[in-house]
Amino acid sequence: MNLALLSLTLPLVGALLLILLRPAGGRWVIMINLASTLAAAGALHQVMQTGTQWLELGGWQAPLAIRFQLSPLAALLLLFTAGLHLLVALYAARSRHAIGGEDFWPLSCLLQAALAALWLSGDLFNLYVTLELLSLAAVALVALAGAKAYRPALNYLLLSLAGSLAYLFGVALLYGRYGVLDIALLSELAEADVTTRLALLLMSLGLMLKAALWPLHLWLPPAHAGAPAAVSALLSALVVKGPLYILWLLWSRIAPVELAQSAGGLFAVAGIFALLCGGWSALRAPYLKTLVAYSTVAQLGYALLALGLLLRWQEPSLSAALWLFVLAHGLAKVSMFLAAGELQYTLGSKRVRALKGASQTMPLALFAFAVAGGSLIGLPPSGGFLAKWLLLQPLFQQPQHWPWAIGVLLGTLASAAYVFRVVALGFDRARPTPASFHPDRLAQWLAMLPALLVWCLALISKPLLLWIGGVSQ
């Protein structure tokens, strides 16, 4: 538990010091992130041996206490958050254009601290507070892109506040009904009555809005596409996963089984629609970063589908698929956004069309984009493929489940289409867009690093699958 707390407090204290002392941020943040990653890895190692640990803040006992809960899954997500921040910071320290100003450094640390607190929180109200911290930091990061991003940032903030208030309304109703906020205690008490249904509905709608799950995703593309490249990477890879985690906690831990089963079908259908609509919009997007942002909407559809089917069939193995999707998508999306940022900066245009001949002018960045895209499509042997494999296995075992597999297939085709749209344009060498200046090789390699890691996941596939199946129970 101490190591997990260290992984939370390092970025928090670091952010405050950076704001007060204003040193040149990059080097410090890389060191903070590295230490935080190591601490999270230590925490994961520890929790795998001892099992779930609890910390009662301030020493209060169970019903009144604010509890921190370190489960193996929380530790894994902690490591994932710190690791992705480290990868993004390495790139951002090299490419100053991708961060939109020195204020990026303290804000990214705050974002990491908010996420770490979210994974560790064990009661509903604490989760509300961390959600708000998360969206405030995220909005401030979007606004770094300058005047043209203020409007999407404001829209993001207002919608995200509306989502939080819907969630808070649900929390108030649950507390009024049961008199506890702790998730472990609520899971024993919850019954399928009117108040609980209303509370779960409000909380789910609020969280779906915050996680940009279909059909409440429309704020995401302008906000994620308008932000600086490194910020978009963090937002798409991590920030939308926070509300998703709470949604998972809510329905798999608190909700009574019969409610969860009926809601699961709706979630799964929404997931299929997200895959199709997100994929279609990505295919038609005129700007490169809008394309990548819509691909986030589509990829969240897989997570939603896994969540829905998990609830509908009460099939615990699908939780592993859900979390593996989150990990694989996070790594691939970081790489994709960083490569897109590098491409649009060097080629001097935001349009997809400007990528003509990029395989000649910027082969490394285009390769990073394609490699990340391969994992999003689910080509073997990548992390995305492993997640899809886990999702498809229970679908194939019983003939009446096959229609869902068609949804997954269509989603895969859509993601293949938008990835190949970019890659095919890159290989159209007839009249390539010239680079505005000499491409930065090291930055392109740093953008590729997360994509290579997601393909490395496949090298350890068997132990990984077994292990993640145990972790996400």
Binding site: L136, A143, Y150, L154, L161, L165, A172
Partner: protein, 91 residues
């Protein structure tokens, strides 16, 4: 009990008015006020639930205080962003 129900209904109504305003209005300042109405609605519901017992439930009151702090800071950020966005448009 009927007083509790009355205030619960008022809170829910405020929340709905705020939500309606957020979805239909275009002006940034009005939308920020709409969000604050939603917030007030939720806080009113929480206080109504807290006042069911004498003395009132300290947990809910503490939650409202925390919620107010969050709402104030979010509103400050929203106002700053809205102001900058307006200035950027006029210049």
């Amino acid at each position: 009990m009927s007083t509790t129900l009355f205030w619960l209904a008022v809170g829910a109504l405020l929340w709905l008015i705020g939500l309606h305003g957020l979805l239909t209005l275009r002006d940034a300042l009005r939308r920020i006020i709409a969000i604050n109405l939603m917030g007030s609605g939720v806080f009113l519901v929480m206080i109504a639930l807290a006042a069911r017992v004498v003395p009132s439930d300290p947990v809910l009151v503490a939650l409202v205080v925390t919620g107010l702090v969050v709402a104030v800071s979010a509103t400050a950020l929203a106002l700053r962003l809205a102001g900058s966005a307006e200035r950027g448009k006029s210049s």
